[in-house]
């Protein structure tokens, strides 16, 4: 991978760490009514299942999106 790609990944990682640090302040269970809303779920949603499949077939990049990243042909 090129040098600028490595720098980009390093910067991205630092940004994520920086964003995560304030999370050390605890949010209590009774304060999570919004966090627990079904639309706030971080995992891939069921209704997007087949959209994720066609991205896998029609694009060269895959993974890190909560969907299946291998297995099956997808060659049509």
């Amino acid at each position: 991978m090129k040098m600028n790609t490595k720098r980009f990944l390093y910067g991205l990682s630092l940004l994520i760490v920086a964003l995560s640090l304030p999370g050390c302040a605890s949010v209590k269970e009774y304060q999570k009514s919004r966090i627990n809303d079904s639309e706030m779920e971080l995992a891939g949603r069921k209704a997007e299942k087949f959209e994720t499949s066609f991205y896998l077939y029609r694009e060269g990049a895959s993974g890190a999106n909560g969907g299946k990243s291998s297995g099956g042909c997808g060659c049509n």
Partner: protein
């Protein structure tokens, strides 16, 4: 890369360095018998049109229609140690027709996979221990098409912080695939089969194996913001080219697609969900991707569910994707015959795509049409445009029973 490793290690340390305070999760009494958590039925219709089929060397129709259906059942039970067991059974079936597959063997009326049925069930078992705040699970998946079979094995482990605000998760998967090397009609050696159902002449079988490791860390930042970062390196080996893809050289000669026997992929994604006000949620996703075939890609997705009422939401979305071509890609008739590897498959070419659409979700408290267990109904439509001129439309219907 060393700096990246140090940073990931720092994140994991942060993820594991949870306060050792009193465990507040010990449940009191709950029924221990097996119960149905939910049932999801998803149906989708997908249609695409384009003129860069790899089967015909980067030109020719890409017309494809796919009808996909999925049924999943989630069951759970508590054991004597108050551990929660979750069992998921998932059955999927696709029926598709592909105009480009019909060009594998244009001399016959019907080629090997002009239309096909793709069946892919999976089973998984997960155990959550509230005392240790860990979740462990295993899974098996199977996939079969006319010329392709896949067996997948997954193991996962996750640990939550005491306050449930942070989760570190690991998931390792292996997919062991086998496929028949069906060749275009004019490129078959003598005594090599067509792969058609009534043809008993031999066709080679080749392996394609994939090894994935997904590491994710999620964090509740505050009462409205939830973040997750996920890295999912993947290594593939075996037959990674598609044998019935044609390639045309600059001198006018023709051969089949040829690609290296290994591929190392590194995607890193960040997901952020933010609850804005009382009615709007912003769901954002970004992924950086690089692999050793020199493809670099960026993907961004934004979806904004708006709660019109507490039970009705509308979710417009937009997804952008851009990727560079793998180093072996050339368009039709532009390949150098002296080079070892070659492909004219635009799926791994330089492309930019846009996907835009909206979903409507209804989840009334008394159930859909008064049926208490019919929890929700969701309808989504999306329109996909690729810089090569390919377009696609997808319509999805989700029924959730709880």
């Amino acid at each position: 890369m060393k700096k990246l490793t140090v940073t990931v290690a720092l994140m994991l340390t942060c993820g594991l360095g949870w306060a050792q305070t009193k465990n507040e999760e010990e449940p009191s009494y709950e029924a221990r018998q097996l119960k149905v958590e939910e049932v999801n039925i998803v149906s989708s219709y997908y249609h695409q049109e384009g003129n860069n089929s790899a089967v015909t060397g980067g030109i020719g129709t890409e017309k494809l229609t796919d009808y996909a259906n999925s049924f999943d059942l989630v069951l759970s039970k508590l054991d004597r140690k108050n551990r929660q067991h979750t069992f998921t059974a998932d059955f999927n079936i696709d029926y598709y027709t592909s105009a480009s597959s019909d060009k594998i063997d244009p001399l016959t009326i019907s080629s090997a996979s002009k239309s096909d049925v793709h069946v892919y069930p999976s089973l998984s078992w997960r155990v959550r221990n509230p005392r240790t705040r860990t979740t462990m699970g295993i899974g098996y998946s199977f996939s079969t098409e006319y010329d392709y079979t896949s067996n997948g094995f997954t193991a996962q482990w996750a640990k939550n912080s005491v306050d449930n605000n942070r989760e570190l998760s690991l998931r390792a998967s292996i997919f062991l695939d086998t496929w028949q090397a069906i060749l275009p009609a004019e490129l078959r050696p003598s005594n090599y089969g067509s792969g058609a159902e009534n043809d008993r002449v031999r066709v080679d079988e080749k392996p394609r194996n994939s090894y994935n490791l997904a590491v994710s860390l999620s964090q509740v930042v505050n009462k409205r913001l939830h973040l997750m970062v996920i890295a999912e390196p993947s290594f593939q080996q075996g037959l990674l080219s598609t044998p019935y893809h044609r390639v045309y050289f600059t001198d006018g000669s023709l051969t089949t697609e040829r690609l290296p026997g290994t591929r190392l992929k590194l995607p890193i994604g960040v997901r952020a969900n933010y609850f804005y006000g009382d009615r709007m949620i912003v769901r954002a996703f970004y992924r950086f991707y690089a692999d050793d075939w020199r493809m670099v890609a960026h993907t961004a997705n934004l979806e904004v569910p708006v709660k019109i009422t507490p039970f009705l939401s509308v979710s417009p979305f937009y997804r952008f994707h851009t990727q560079t071509a793998v180093q072996y890609f050339r368009a039709y008739g532009q390949h150098n015959p002296t080079l070892l590897y070659h492909t004219s498959d635009y799926d791994i070419g330089a492309i930019t795509t846009h996907f835009v659409g909206a979903g409507v979700r209804i989840a009334p408290p008394g159930g859909i049409m008064g049926l208490r267990h019919w929890n929700s109904l969701e309808l989504r439509y999306g329109h996909y445009v690729r810089s090569t001129g390919m377009t696609a439309n997808i319509l999805t219907l989700l029924v959730k029973v709880k």
